[in-house]
């Protein structure tokens, strides 16, 4: 695929590189924090009240208290941030930027993997070795490999996927 691509490239071309990151979910321990939805483990109680008049005297009775438990909804959104990425012939170490957002109601670990072979084009970049996924630490120039992220519900991290052609 790559050799074919190189043969086709006679000049600088701009390719819209499409890649899909698959977020594989693994369960993590429950942790209470602020939430997108009602936090996992919350107990929702309900009691009804009935007021009435019985033989000219006001009375009130209350119902049993019914409860249910809020279970975890595991949800994640991976959003491309890069748009178009310019790739020169024989280019290497091009990066794509994604954000990974925990949109569930519990803290989760997200195991990230790359699938750079996307149907519909002839551009199949090879993930860099040994690691091709990096995490934004917030520092302007330093990108450090941190391992797979554990995200509190509602929080997100920025991920760089680096590929070599």
């Amino acid at each position: 695929m790559i050799s074919l691509l190189r043969a086709m490239l006679s000049a600088t071309r701009v390719l819209l590189v499409r890649a899909v990151m698959c977020a594989v979910l693994t369960l993590a321990l429950m942790q209470h924090t602020f939430a997108v939805g009602t936090v996992v483990g919350t107990i929702i109680e309900n009691t009804a009240t009935v007021d009435f008049v019985f033989v000219n005297s006001a009375e009130r009775v209350v119902s049993n208290t019914i409860t249910f438990l809020v279970a975890e909804r595991v949800d994640v959104v991976v959003t491309p941030q890069s748009g178009q990425v310019v790739v020169l012939p024989n280019g290497t170490a091009r990066s794509l930027l994604f954000t990974v957002t925990n949109t569930g109601n519990g803290t989760e670990s997200f195991l990230l993997a790359i699938n750079s072979i996307v149907a519909g084009d002839d551009f199949d970049p090879i993930p860099a070795l040994p690691d091709s996924i990096f995490f934004d630490t917030g520092a302007p120039t330093v990108v450090v490999r941190l391992g797979d992220p554990t995200l509190v519900d509602g929080l997100q991290t920025v991920v760089f996927q680096v590929t070599i052609d």
Binding site: G37, I44, N46, A48, F52, V55, T65
Partner: protein, 156 residues
Amino acid sequence: MKILMSLILILMAFAAVAQGHLDVQTTVQKQETFVNEAGETEQRLVAADVAVPGERVIYTMTFTNISDESAEKVVITNPIEDGLVYVDGSAFGPGTDITFSVDDGASFAAASDLTVTEDGESRPAEAKDYTHIRWVMKNDLAAGAQATARFAAILE
């Protein structure tokens, strides 16, 4: 012996008060899709022991007059707990007038008459603003009679 008899009578009196003249039971359920024996998809209500955000739960209050006299001016009040949002139009109760509160149960009015003040400006209340629902029975609840009130809410 006299003291013991008095104690028993007092205890019996307490038991009568605790029991009251009406009994009210609440259940919480959710809708489940299942495939019946004919292979068709159907819906049924099952007990909601757990729910995930976004799921709809249905509360049903069944109240029964367990006395031998009519109960008058029967009013059922149910809070919409934190984490739940009332499903607009879901409140149901044959023979009742249904009103809502947006002030934690201090006052009740028909849905169309409720307003909420937000940033100093008044706007019509929406389902998400409701804190309580109230069912007012139009007629007396006869001895032995049973009635039902129901509403649905979405878990946030």
